[in-house]
Each structure stands twice: as C-alpha cells, then as structure tokens.
C-alpha cells in the first residue's frame, strides 16, 4: 500500500475502491439524515433522503460496470481478484443500505404527517440507529485500511443491535396492547427499527467481505459450516 501507485492497473483498482468508499460515505449520511428526520420530524430532510437514493443507485451502476470492465480487461488474480469480487458484493450491500435509508425517511414522513407522536420511543430508535451507522462506518474503515482485525470487531457489534431491536419490539408490543390507537404508528416504527437492524446486517456482510479480501477466508455463514480456506 505504501508504494506509489505507479501501475495503471493499481490506479484503476484504487479508483474503484475510492468510489465504493465514497458511496459508503453517502449511504452513511443518508441513514443519519433519515434517522434525524425521524426524530425531528423535518419533512424536507426526509424528502431529500428519498431523492438522493437515486445518487446511491447511480454509484452502484457505475461501480458494477467498472468491476466488470476491470475483470475483462486486466484478468486480475489472487488478492486483486478477491478485491474486485468482494467490491461487487459490497456494492449490493451498500445499495440495500441506501434503500433502507429511503425507507426510514418514507415511514417517518408518514408518521409525522399523520400528526402527533403517541409512542414515546424516539430516543431508543435514534440510539440504535447511531449504533448501526457506527457499525457501517467501522466496516468501511476496515475496507479502507484492509484491516481484518477491525472487520472482526464490527461483526461482533451486530449482537448489540439485534438486542436493541428486540427491546424496541417488546416495548412497542406493550404499547400496542395498552392502547390500540398506537398500532398503526407502532407498526411504522417497527418497520423503521427493522430497517436499521438490516443496516447492521449489511455492515456485517461488508466486514465479512473485507476479511475475505485480506485473508482469502470466506467467513460468511461460518457458524453453520467450517470456513474453507481458498487461497488461490
């Protein structure tokens, strides 16, 4: 990494990596804005999030195309090939995260348009949202630094988000049972919390792909089957 990027091939590869990380930065901001919009009820902000999802989609198309071209033209091998393969997977995860941001914005717009909040669970959702953004940030950092250790740490954080999601769910169920008028809003909040929880899962996927790039070990579904070492 420390040498100068002299070869054209290296430059192209780095360019793709920079672009996917930029896309990650945009997605991070989208999720943050969506969660902020949910807490503050700023409808303009939510509209902006929904609009900017097209930008994320644009990134996805561009990066996919670049990956295909790079494989076709340069026939990368070993770690370089793993990098390109992993990036084309990560791009999908990021695009999904972007969709989740738009979904959160959409649902919160609906909640706030419907009028006052009946369920006082705002700060919990915000908190778990920040956790998910932090996870995504950590996963992207590990991709930027090619740091498998940091990636493993990110994977470990997913448990906290799952636990927080379940806590929110239980709480909302209690509200719905106490007062059926809260059901429609509580359902929307569950959708939002679920979207946030999915962002955590996508961050985990990204981190797993980073481990795959660095060590050649596929750790996906590693609890189900022992990891197979496939060093080319």
């Amino acid at each position: 990494m420390n040498d100068h990027l002299s070869r054209q091939f290296d430059l192209e590869l780095e360019n793709i990596r920079t672009r996917i990380l930029q896309m990650g930065g945009l997605v991070e901001k989208q999720i943050l804005a969506a969660i902020e919009g949910f807490s503050t009820g700023n409808v303009e902000q939510m509209q902006e999030v929904i609009r900017a999802d097209r930008e994320v989609d644009g990134y996805e198309l561009g990066i996919d195309e670049d990956c295909t071209l790079l494989i076709a033209r340069r026939q990368p091998a070993a770690r370089d090939l793993r990098l390109v393969m992993a990036i084309s997977r990560i791009v999908t995860d990021l695009e999904r995260c972007g969709d989740k941001a738009a979904k959160i914005a959409n649902k919160s717009r609906k909640i706030h348009r419907a009028g006052g909040q009946r369920t006082p669970r705002l700060s919990d959702v915000q908190q778990v949202g920040h956790l998910a953004i932090q996870m995504l940030h950590g996963a992207l950092d590990s991709l930027a630094r090619m740091d498998a250790e940091a990636a493993r740490k990110v994977i470990g954080e997913d448990k906290a988000i799952d636990a927080a999601f379940n806590a929110i769910l239980r709480q909302l169920v209690t509200y719905m049972m106490e007062d059926p008028r809260t059901i429609s809003e509580a359902l929307d909040i569950i959708w939002i919390a679920k979207a946030i929880e999915r962002v955590g899962d996508h961050a985990t996927n990204i981190a797993e792909n980073v481990i795959y790039i660095v060590s050649g070990v596929d750790v996906r579904h590693s609890s189900a089957a022992p990891a197979v070492r496939r060093e080319p």
Partner: protein, 428 residues
C-alpha cells in the same frame, strides 16, 4: 627496513640488499591492502564494526574518515532531535494537519488529524484520503481550486462535533489540509442569533395580546363593566409577563457583566430554606407535598443571588410537577461539599435535552412552559449565579419519574457555625 637492506647489502652483497628491499615492499603492500580490505568491510557494516586500527597512509585515511563520521553522526542526531521536537510540536497543535500528494495519498499527518479526520499514522500513510474521509462533498472540495470556503463536516453520528477543513497548496502537487474544531464557534453563533430571535418573540407575544385588546377597547366603546374588567385583567397578566421577562434579562446581563466576585456575606441556610418553602407553598397553592430537609451549615455568598438561584429551582419544580406530586428541598454536606438539591416527582426531562436545558430560552416543550409562566431564562440565571459562587449544577432526570437539580458548593464557602440552627428548623 632501509637499514636492514643496507646491512644485508654490505654483508652479503648488493643482490641480497635488493632482495630485502623487494621483500619489504611486498610485505608493506600486503599490509596496506589488507588494511584497505578491512576498512572496506567495516564500511559495509559501519554500525556493528568499529573502524580498523592500522598504521601508515591507510591509517591516516581511517583516522580522517572516523573524524568525519563522528562529525556527521553528531549532525544527524542534532537534525533527528530537531525533527523529533518538530513532530512533538506538530502533535501538540490542536488543529489537524495532513499532507497529501498529487494522487491524494496521505504523506504525513499530526495527532489531531486522528481525532478530527480519523487518520492515524503510520498505518494510514499512503492511503488515499477520500477512502478515509468519505463525507459526501469532500472529494469535490479536494478536486477544487483551493480558494473555496472551508469544507464543513461532521465525522460521526454518535459524537456531534463539527470540523472545518481548509486546503492549502504546498509546492507543485502536494497539499496541506488543515482541520479545526468549530463546534463551539458554531454553537455560540447559533445561540446568539437564536437569543435575539427568542427575545423578540417572547416580547412580541404579550405585546400582540395587549395590542389586540386595546384595539378592541377603542372600537367597542359600549362594553359592560365585567367585560372591561376581564380585558384589563388579561392585559395586566401579559404586562406582568413582559416585566418578569425584562427583569430576568436584566438580571442575566448584570450577572454576566459583573466582574466583581460574589460577595461573602454569611447566609443563614435555615432561614433561606424556610423562605423557599414558604414561597414554594405559595406558588403550589396546596397542589404539591413540599418537604424541606436541612442538614448543613450556613453559606458564604451573596444572599440575594443564592435566593434567586435556589428559588428558581424550587419554582421550576412546582411548575413542572403535576398536582399531587412531591417536592423535596434538601441542604446537606457530602464529601466536604455543600449540596443543595431540589427533587420532584414531575414529568422529567428526556436525556437529549439535558445538555442544553440551561441555555437561554431553551425549552423542552414550547407551549407548555409558557403556559406555566416561565420566561425561559430561569435555569440560565441559576447557572450564572452558581458559576459566580464557584459551584456547579448537576441535573439528573428520568422521563416520567422526576428530576433532581443539584447545586454543589465548594467547601470553602461553607461556614461551620450554623449547624444547630438548622437542626432546630428540622424539628419544627
């Protein structure tokens, strides 16, 4: 050697003499060659082997070389020392500094850059900066010309801090990025403009009401006495609100501009607490259960200011606790500090409001606090008065359970003599 050769020449004939000379030359040549070889070898690994000790021309060479090397070593350690202290100075700078090359790869960064931008050397050296600083817009800023306004961004969701980044050209291709923490500056700026807007708004509302009534009065001359009285009462309520707002504003500005430290008169806490209790009960009109627990000494400070600060805390508790709730006012000594606290069983304050609640006009719920007659300046005044008494304000609150406002007063402001009076008061 020459002597040995001459002696050999005289004794055994000239050919022996020449032979000795030749042998001597060969021997000297071998010695010098060997010395040169040793020298060459030791130059290859100059760190482990000292320079060989030899005589003759090569010996001279070795001595000079050694001198030169020592001199250069001293120079180098001086330069290294300077570089080290330069690095230390750079790391001590609160602004983040990053040098990037033409391909945006990180060449060097100081420590503050780690906190601001998440760049940590040596691991991140050579990484393209856009891969680490991914905030949308940053890449565009980097590819811009450099005379654009600074790039403002928030790096993390959990830690709401704002940084500004400026790009400065260094030579042909390299560029220096300087980041600064502008969180405070932006907050102060936002507060100042919000303050003006708030003051105007707070004064405008009652004025509008009064104005409306006055117009109504002049338009409708024929008005019953009851109607007229009702209007006058409402108007006087509004003017009272304006008055208390202006009073609070004046208090606040006096507290702020007053450089003289708070006076050191002795404050009888038992008396003050009794007064606070009476005021609290008056405000509550029997809707709350208010208790006082006095277990501490007297205080040295300004009676008027402390009365105003503590009174504000009590009246807040009364205002934000629903009827039937309990309020406890207590004064005691813990770990050498004087602790004045007001706990209530009120509605509580959500965690996100706590850091900002002492800001002027900051309101958790706009409509409700004006309804209860607050000016929005109470806690700001409390904070200022406590600051002038070197005390701090701590707020613990849970939504739905209640809040506790605690003023912690430093030990040197406590006067030990008044304990007994306090006990007597408790017995009442």
């Amino acid at each position: 050697m020459v002597c040995v050769a001459l002696a050999a020449g005289v004794l055994h004939g000239p050919s022996w003499g020449w032979a000795v000379v030749a042998l001597g030359c060969v021997w000297a040549l071998i010695r010098q060659t060997r010395a040169l070889r040793d020298l060459t070898a030791s130059l290859d690994s100059i760190a482990e082997h000292p320079l060989p000790e030899v005589s003759g021309v090569v010996g001279q060479l070795v001595v000079r070389l050694g001198r030169r090397l020592r001199h250069e070593g001293r120079l180098r350690s001086a330069v290294e020392g300077e570089l080290r202290s330069f690095r230390v100075a750079m790391d001590a700078i609160p602004d983040g500094l990053v040098v990037i090359d033409g391909q945006h790869q990180i060449v060097w960064a100081n420590r503050a850059a780690g906190a601001h931008l998440g760049i940590h050397l040596p691991g991140d050296q050579g990484t393209i900066i856009e891969q680490l600083v991914r905030t949308p817009g940053f890449a565009e800023y980097l590819s811009g010309s450099g005379d654009q306004p600074p790039f403002i961004f928030q790096p993390s969701a959990a830690l709401p801090r704002t940084y500004s980044i400026r790009m400065i050209a260094l030579g042909e291709r390299e560029r220096l990025l300087a980041s600064a923490d502008v969180t405070e500056a932006r907050r102060v700026e936002a507060m100042r403009s919000a303050f003006v807007a708030n003051v105007s708004h707070e004064l405008r509302t009652p004025l509008t009401v009064v104005h409306g009534f006055l117009e109504h009065l002049s338009d409708h001359q024929a008005m019953t006495v009851e109607e007229r009285q009702h209007f006058v009462r409402l108007m006087s309520d509004q003017t009272r609100r304006m008055l208390s707002l202006v009073d609070d504003l004046l208090t606040l500005s006096r507290l702020e501009s007053d450089d003289v430290p708070a006076s050191n008169e002795t404050v009888d806490m038992a008396e003050l607490l009794a007064q606070l209790l009476a005021e609290g009960r008056g405000l509550s009109e029997g809707r709350h259960r208010i208790e006082v627990r006095c277990d501490g000494p007297g205080l040295r400070g300004s009676l008027g200011e402390l009365h105003s600060a503590f009174g504000n805390l009590v009246s807040n508790a009364v205002r934000y606790t629903p009827a039937g709730g309990a309020i406890q006012i207590s004064w005691l000594v813990r770990e050498g500090q004087g602790i004045f606290s007001v706990s209530d069983s009120g509605m509580g304050i959500a965690a996100e409001h706590l850091p900002r609640i002492t800001e002027r006009f900051y309101r958790v719920d706009r409509g409700r606090s004006r309804e209860t007659g607050g000016t929005g300046l109470g806690l700001a005044i409390v904070k200022h008065i406590l600051l002038r008494h070197q005390a701090d304000l701590q707020i613990d609150s849970q939504v739905g359970t209640g809040s506790t406002f605690t003023a912690r007063i430093p030990s040197w402001r406590l006067s030990p003599a008044r304990q007994d009076q306090c006990d007597r008061d408790r017995a009442d």
